[in-house]
Amino acid sequence: MGAFSLNYLVRRLLVFFLTLWVAATLIFIIPRLAPGDPITAMVARLTQQAGFVENADLIIEGWRERFGLNDPVYVQYLRYLTGLLQGDLGYSLARFPSTVSELVGRALPWTLGLVGVATLIFFSVGNLCGALLAWGKTPRLVKVMIPMSMIFTSIPPLLAGLLIVYVFGFLIPIFPQAYAYDYNFARPELTLEFFANVLYHGFLPAMSIVLVTFGYWALGMRGMMITIEGEDYMILAQAKGLKPFYVLYRYMIRNAILPQMTALAVSIGTLVNGVVLVEVIFSYNGMGTLIFTALREQDFGLIQGTSFILITTSALAVLIIDLSYPLIDPRISLEGR
């Protein structure tokens, strides 16, 4: 326990830091690949919207100097990377005095909470359903009910969110349609009442993710369980006369859950894609809505900063799952010795 093989640890950390570097570099390069430079492009877009911008040349020149765009590219790149390392994501252009880090810091906890709770629910419910689907002793009624509840699987969370907010926020208005908490609360506070309100508001967004996702995990789990049912140690367990529930948990689920953990690490990226869009539908106060408003306001610095932080968060989540994997599967720690 605890003793990772060094190989495993080094490789995971390498992937983590390379991911951050690739993301940072992409975000640095992309605007520079476009014809012109970001400032000219931005002023051009302003001109498009407003019809005419006074002294556009002066503005462009001033900003170029200000953002150091007259320096050679590698100097800009190094400055950008050191900035990122120090957590400096620059200023938001549309809400100027605020820095990107400030805005992101306010939005990120909401997204983390939403994703965390939704993941907990769909992973446990999905795996349980999958295990019950494959288990020989499951009541027939349950075996019929579970596949019926899986009809939404594979529909993007965005579309599920639309349907859910229409049905439960509009037709039968029992849940709030938008925001993470009532605006009676001036700011988040540490009371039970506020916490209940957050749960109430978070229910529909979380459901839109869970409903379309858990079936996928149930299917994966079912496949693993069927493979395990054919193993010799299952016959031995039966021959020993072990209690069925004990066999289900100790022999089947514990083995079948391992590949599911790997699959969870792989699916984090897709999950974050879905959450960003669900937040837009529900105007949830998280990173998705932040990026959406930034797109609205053409706030390029904010778009870049939000994307980078979300990518970092995903990479961190993957790293945590990968590093906790040897704890639940002792075989990994032996690998490569």
Partner: protein
């Protein structure tokens, strides 16, 4: 029931006890999930084809029809009734919803097909190289795959599109395909690894068959159902990315696709003006496409992996 069948089939296929389980009509491709998924998609394409023949698709452009009409039999928030000339209603810039569906659905699926095909071709090439050649190739490709899978594609696509602005469908498909090769590569590499040491591959290697032929003439045909499932999964992913980008407002706007229709409807607050036909119909069509793709995917999985077949 099952007993009956076994008894009936047994003499036909030779009389031994096992023969009833494996008779010649037991074709794995006659899988109900695969067939019903393919059937749904086929039927959808047939309806679209019919639509192109029978309906005026120019109505999908804006300002060709009255605004905000509901389907016949319903009234909108202004109290206007639907008319039979617009069986699925119209939206707020005067596009006919039926024409919009007829034009938009194939455009959405086309982006999925292009992005999935490009991603799949790269995935096959890299997956085979990593799995079969191993060594440095494998290390580098695995690293690249791990990185690409960790990065949520939508976020980078948003940054790209924020620079490029609105793009046409082909560009959008190619942008999406930047991210659609990693999952197939990973999947194919795993399958190739499991095949590499099997008897027929070693036989081919001993007979001096060139590496390229072993990869693509010996191993690949055995992987076809896996490749099919992977391709369909890739298509789902591509369409999800595309709809996501469109709902954020990046779609081509003159000739709409399904995601752009949803974007416009959200912009106009259609959800809370109860204009359900505007966002609801594209959503339902997309949902049908996704369910059909999932069924095909599950069917192909069962075709490829006999163990999954028995317990269903």
């Amino acid at each position: 029931m099952a007993e009956d069948k076994k008894v009936k089939d047994a003499p036909v296929a030779g009389g031994t006890k096992q023969a009833g389980v494996l008779n010649r009509f037991d074709n794995p491709w006659l899988n109900w999930k695969f067939l019903s998924g393919a059937g749904i998609l086929g039927f959808l394409f047939f309806l679209i084809f019919l639509g192109y023949q029978l309906w005026d698709t120019n109505l999908a452009l804006s300002a060709r029809s009255p605004l905000n009409l509901p389907p016949p039999g319903f009234t909108n928030w202004r109290g206007q009734e639907g008319v039979p000339e617009h069986p699925l209603g119209t939206e707020n810039s005067g596009r006919d919803m039926l024409a919009l569906i007829i034009v938009g659905t194939p455009r959405t699926i086309m982006v999925g097909v292009i992005a999935a095909t490009v991603g799949m071709l790269i995935g096959i090439l890299l997956g085979f190289m990593a799995g079969f050649l191993g060594g440095l190739f494998d290390d580098v490709i695995r690293l690249a795959v791990d990185i690409m899978i960790t990065i949520p594609s939508l976020l980078v696509l948003i940054v790209i599109q924020a620079v490029l602005g609105r793009v046409d469908l082909l560009t959008m498909a190619l942008l999406i395909s930047i991210f659609s090769w990693a999952t197939p590569t990973r999947y194919i590499r795993a399958q190739v690894l499991s095949m590499r040491e099997s008897g027929y591959v070693q036989m081919a290697r001993l007979s001096g068959v060139p590496v390229r032929d072993i990869m693509f003439k010996e191993i690949m045909p055995n992987l076809l159902p896996y490749l099919g499932a992977s391709y369909i999964g890739n298509m789902q992913g591509a369409i999800i990315s595309m709809v996501g980008l469109e709902v954020l407002g990046f779609g081509p706007q003159r000739i709409p696709s399904l995601g752009v229709a949803i974007f416009f409807s959200i912009e106009a607050g259609a959800l809370f003006r109860n204009m359900w036909w505007w966002w609801g119909i594209p959503t339902v069509i997309l949902a049908i496409v996704f369910v059909a793709l999932l069924l095909i995917n599950l069917g192909l999985d069962e075709i490829a992996n006999p163990r999954l077949r028995k317990a269903s």
